[in-house]
Amino acid sequence: MIEVLCFAHVAEELAMRSYTVSAPTTIASLREGLMERGVSGAERLMFAVNERYETDDYMIEDGDTVAVIPMVSGG
């Protein structure tokens, strides 16, 4: 299983802090899932796997932790 963490407007729109998907998958596939669920700006979201930014073709394996990263706004 792969755990997907959600933050900020993504968590709010999905009304979920996290969800799980089956391994293996890709970031592109997670992005598609978010678009289907109507998450705003899903085509521009970033993703981190095990706390590192990764790109759409990244293959996610069993046990990985994925985070959906909307545009950051700290500071």
Binding site: L5, F7, A8, H9, E12, R31, S40, G41, E43, R44, L45, M46, A48, E51, R52, Y53, E54, T55, D56, A67, I69, P70, M71, V72, S73, G74, G75
Partner: protein, 151 residues
């Protein structure tokens, strides 16, 4: 004192200052970001910060490494507060030190710009007329944020 920290506790600028001082430091620059009330005609009531904490602390540490590569000898410590913040509260403190002032200033400014690019922290504005997650719709491109590479 941790050099890179993201949590809900009030920030202590002087503790960060002490962290980056040593006998061959001639210049320390502290940046303190505070919650301000007015932005143009919009009135902020409070801010809410959320973070993916373990990754955020790693990214702050990466910024510290980037600084010491660009300005050899410069030290950086960064604490970011999250949770609910009122007007006047401190959201972020960045301390940079160097033997000479130019590096301490430039390193500090670099750090705050990088925080706004790569550190997973999100701010929700609570205005008198509504709320909004900042940075949620535009500008971002999918992929890695610029300059993030792995060895």
């Amino acid at each position: 004192m941790k050099w890179y920290q993201v949590n809900e506790h009030p920030l202590e600028p002087m503790a960060l200052y002490e962290t980056v001082r040593h006998r061959n430091v001639g210049a320390v620059v502290l940046f303190i970001g505070t919650v301000r009330e007015m932005t143009g005609s919009k009135q902020t009531e409070l801010l809410e910060y959320e973070s993916y904490v373990p990754m955020a602390e790693k990214m702050l540490e990466q910024i510290g490494h980037e600084v010491s590569e660009r300005w050899p000898g410069a030290l950086t410590a960064i604490h970011h507060r999250i949770g609910r913040l009122d007007i006047l509260d401190e959201a972020v403190v960045i301390a940079t030190s160097s033997s000479h002032r130019a590096d301490a200033y430039e390193a500090n400014r670099y750090a705050i710009e990088r925080i706004k690019e790569i550190v997973p922290i999100w701010k929700r504005e609570h205005w008198t007329d509504g709320t909004k997650w900042i940075g949620d719709q535009k500008e971002q491109l999918p992929g890695r944020p610029e300059g993030v590479t792995y060895s």
